[in-house]
Structure formats: structure tokens, C-alpha cells
Amino acid sequence: MDRRRPHKRGHWPVHLALALISALMLVPFYWVLKTSLTGENIFAYPPSLLPHDPNPFYFVDVWYAIPFLRYLINSVIVSIMVVVANVFLNAMAGYALTRDFPGKGATIMLFLSCMMIPFQVTIIPAYLITAKLHLLNSYFGMALPLMSTIICIFIFKAAFEAIPHSLVEAARIDGVPDWQIMFRLIMPLTKPAIATNVILSFIWSWNSFLWPLVVVRDVNMQTLPLGLSRFLSVVEDTTGALYAFCVMVLVPGLLIFLLAQKEFIKGLTSGATKG
């Protein structure tokens, strides 16, 4: 009888379990959104579960109380630098790895072993190197370590290898130079890989906290995560403004993820399983 059940049985227990899990996963999002709209009064126990008298006051407050625009611009500049560099550098490296050349095996080994070095473990010398390059407190200094990603190099390599060889050969016989083959022929054919790379590198640089924390001291150069953690240290954690700030920071990342989750997940899993 155990065997007969799976086929015709209704799926409601599965739905029930999944709905419960989803609710648990969503509660923190709901709670921060609620607080950002209503604030919280520590003397009013119990906390109301539903937003009571919601208003956008705290969002306006954030806009004027802190240099939100400054943080946003800094974050956007660093993210753009990282994303653009990632697409070009990873595509170039990935393309090079599809060709045969002496030292190819060693290069691949080098990349794979670099992947086993978590960035956090390099933080002290990385800071000293950046200082030596006179890049502390600069956009470029914040962006540089993130500008190429090994996972994405291999995603590009796989995408290039999927392109029919005859197409490239034909172009080459016609005397098209290599760099034009790259940008006119191959890049358009690897749109999915590019999309994956854009999304992954954007999310990584957008959320990056430890590295900017180390290399940036100048308040005018701080990115959103730094601004957020600074704001936390100067305000009471009961003010709605803190959570309004949170919401404003979360929205862009979440939006991009929801719009492009397929590419995002594909990139993460292919990176995770293929090395």
C-alpha cells in the first residue's frame, strides 16, 4: 500500500510543508518592511504584528539624514567597474583557455588552486599591496580584487567550447583578426554566459563589505553596506529609519535577482559543480 500512494494522492501535505517553510523564510523580510513603515515604540508591548498606521516618513528621513545618494553613487560606480571588468577579462581569459598553448595545463591548475584560496584569508597582504599601489580610498582599489572571477572564466570557457568550431574557422580563413572574431562573432553567441557573469559579479560587488571596510577610511568614498553598518552604530536600533535604509539597500539586489534568477542560479550551480 505504501507503493500505491505516491501516484494518486493529493499533494496538500507537501504544499502545507512548503508553505510553512516559505512563511518562515519570509518572516524576516516582512518584519523589516513592517518596521520601516511604522517604526517601533519600545514602550508599546506587545509589538503589533500588522503594520499600524504605515507611512513613508522614515524613507524620507533616511534620504535627508544620511548621505544616501553619496553611498548609492559610490556603490554604483564600484559595481559598474567590477561588472564591466569581469565581462571583458573573464571572456578574454575564458577564450584563451579554449586554445592550445604551452602552459595551458599549468594555467588551469593555477586558476583552480586560486579558487581554493578564500579572499578573506588574503586580506592583510591584500591591504598592504593595495597601500603600496596607492589605491587605498579609491574606487579602483575597491573594485580591483573583484575584477576577475575564476568561476566565470570557466563559465565562459564552457560557453566558447559550445560554439561550432567551423564557424570560427570560416571567419579566420576570411582573414578576420582574432580580436574581431572575439567581439563580433563569439561575444554575441555567448549571451547567456555574459548575463550570468553580469549578475553574479554585480551581486558580489554590491554586497561586498569586508574589503571596502579595510581599504576605505574616507567617509565620502563609503559604499552602501559601509554606510548601513555606520548608520547602525550611530542610531538607536529602534528607529524606523534604520530599517527603511535596509529596505532601500535590499531592493536593487532583490529586484535583479528576481528578474534574472535563472541565470543567477545556473551560474552558481555550474560554478559550484564544475570548479
Binding site: A93, I117, F154, A158, P225, A272, T273, K274
Partner: protein, 320 residues
């Protein structure tokens, strides 16, 4: 550009007389281009992965600070770390506890993955919701959770009091007993979706006819889970575990925001302790020694996990 013009002019001349030279030159130009394409990435990884790794080791064998010239220290820093710094052992213990929480998350995620893997309506929506916390900014996650844990008006304390589990709010993040589990829970909330996605990919790569064959042979659901699903999921489980270990590095953001490592060193992990030793106290040399220890710990655990997974995961990795 000029060089290319010369090449173009020279090529037709040489082509008739000496074909090999033409091809050789073309080949060497191609090689140059290949290395040119690889160069920027190689420079970045050299600057920010390889050199730092070596420099860490060098730094850990010195007395050094930004204001003093380096002096050779031998194993002084390591001696200090292993025998005279109680905080170091506390922090290593915390890091291990943090890593040990990964299997809990992986088991939970496996449950969710099995549910989502069923042929039901709306499973894409469930999957998105469970995964949604992963790409979120960790600093914001920290702020959200420290708010949920708030002693007076936090949602978690409210629920606990309403259920009658406790009669007054627990100051989770200020308590020596609860701070670390509290941070771990927040971290699990964020990473569980990623585990789920990895396991789901693994589940979907198991050929369904294996289950059909097993059920024809009269295997129960439990038997086919333990005999088919689990063994074939080993590489995915290994990957999850490595992600879990790496997650203890990424927990920096969370801990920095939620507790700052406190109370005492109750929530300090190696990453946060290294950060404060180097960038708050200025003891770069000592922090470098701890970084080396951290890296050894990471590689050792990854190696053991790979062995337990039967080495298959390594094979998958190398193939790429």
C-alpha cells in the same frame, strides 16, 4: 597597429618562398595574443591570491608593523598563538562550532530540496522564496536579525513569550550562552537556499529509472533513499559542506554587524578576530600567523570532506 601593417606587408612576400616562417610567425602572434588575454586575470589573481598567501607566511615569521622595519621572529608568533593566547583557542572553537552547524543546515536543505523536487504546482515559487535570502546583502541580514532578536520588542522574544516558553525577553545577542547560536541561526537562514539549490541540481541528475527499478524490486521509499539518493548525492553533499566551511569566512559581515564578536569573544570567529587584531590593534604579524592557521584549517577540512565523499567531488572539479 603599425606593427600589424608591417606584418601584413611582409606576409605575402614571405608566403611564397618560406611558408613555415609565415605559419610560425602567425603562431607566435597567436600565442602572444593568448597570453595577452590571460594577463589581466593572471595579474589580479597573482596580486590578490598567490602573493598574499606567500606574504602571509613570510609576515607570520616576522616582527612587523607599519611603523617598524621587519625583524625575523622565527616561530614566535605561532608560539604566542598556540600557547599564550586563550582567545585564539576560544575563537578556533567558535569557528569549528560554526562550521559544524553546516551539516544541520544541509540536512534541512535536503528536506526542502526533496519536497521541491516533487511534481507539484508552484514549486518554482517555493524554490525562489527559499533561495531569496541568499543574494541579499549580508550586512542588511545582520541588521534584520539583530532586530528580530531584540530583547524588548523583537519578534522572536514576542513569539517565545506568547508560547509560554519564557516569561521575559532573552537578550540573545548579549548573552554568552545564546549569542553564537543566534548568529548561526541567522547565517543558516541566509545560506540554506544555496544548499537547497546545489542539492536540487544533484537530485535532478539522478536517473529516474533507478527508482523505478528499485520499486519493481520491492524496495521501500526509505531503502531507495538511503541506497540510491544518498550515495549519488555524495558529490553535492560534499560541495554543500565546502560552501558551509567557506560560509564561516563570509560570516564576517554578519558578526561585525550583529555582535562585533562579543560578548567577550563569544561570537568571535577566526575571520573577525584576525580583522580586529590586524586592523584595530595593528598587530599585522600576529594576525598573519592566525591567517595561516585559518587557511590550514580550511584546506584540511576540505580535504577530509573530499575523502569522506569518496574523492568523486575532486574528480568532478578536476574535469573542468
Amino acid at each position: 597597429m603599425a606593427e600589424r601593417a608591417v606584418d601584413m606587408a611582409a606576409a605575402p612576400l614571405g608566403a611564397a618562398a618560406a611558408r613555415p616562417t609565415f605559419w610560425a610567425r602567425r603562431r607566435s602572434r597567436e600565442l602572444g595574443l593568448i597570453w595577452l588575454f590571460l594577463l589581466p586575470s593572471l595579474v589580479i589573481f597573482l596580486l590578490y591570491r598567490i602573493i598574499p598567501l606567500v606574504w602571509n607566511v613570510v609576515l607570520s615569521l616576522e616582527f612587523w608593523s607599519p611603523y617598524r622595519p621587519a625583524r625575523f621572529a622565527g616561530l614566535y608568533q605561532y608560539q604566542n598563538m598556540l600557547f599564550y593566547d586563550d582567545a585564539f583557542w576560544k575563537v578556533v572553537g567558535n569557528t569549528l562550532i560554526f562550521m559544524a552547524s553546516a551539516p544541520i543546515g544541509i540536512v534541512l536543505a535536503l528536506g526542502v530540496a526533496l519536497l521541491v523536487n516533487q511534481q507539484i504546482k508552484g514549486r518554482g515559487v517555493y524554490r525562489t522564496i527559499v533561495f531569496m535570502s541568499y543574494p541579499v546583502m549580508t550586512v542588511a541580514v545582520g541588521i534584520i536579525w539583530q532586530w528580530l532578536y531584540n530583547e524588548k520588542v523583537g519578534l522572536i522574544n514576542y513569539v517565545l513569550i506568547s508560547l509560554g516558553i519564557t516569561n521575559r525577553g532573552i537578550p540573545f545577542l548579549e548573552s554568552f550562552q545564546w549569542a553564537l547560536p543566534a548568529v548561526i541561526l541567522a547565517s543558516l537562514w541566509q545560506v540554506i537556499g544555496f544548499y537547497m539549490i546545489i542539492l536540487l541540481t544533484g537530485l535532478q541528475s539522478i536517473p529516474p529509472n533507478l527508482y523505478e527499478a528499485a520499486s519493481i524490486d520491492g524496495a521501500s521509499a526509505g531503502q531507495s533513499f538511503w541506497r540510491i539518493t544518498v550515495p549519488l548525492l555524495k558529490p553535492s553533499l560534499f560541495l554543500c559542506f565546502v560552501v558551509g566551511i567557506i560560509n564561516s569566512f563570509n560570516a564576517f559581515d554578519l558578526i561585525f554587524v550583529m555582535t562585533g564578536g562579543g560578548p567577550g569573544h563569544a561570537t568571535d570567529l577566526l575571520v573577525t578576530y584576525i580583522y580586529s587584531t590586524a586592523f584595530k590593534l595593528g598587530h599585522f604579524d600576529y594576525a598573519a600567523a592566525m591567517t595561516v592557521a585559518n587557511f590550514v584549517l580550511f584546506v584540511g577540512l576540505a580535504f577530509v570532506a573530499n575523502r569522506l565523499a569518496g574523492g568523486e567531488a575532486g574528480a568532478v572539479k578536476r574535469r573542468a
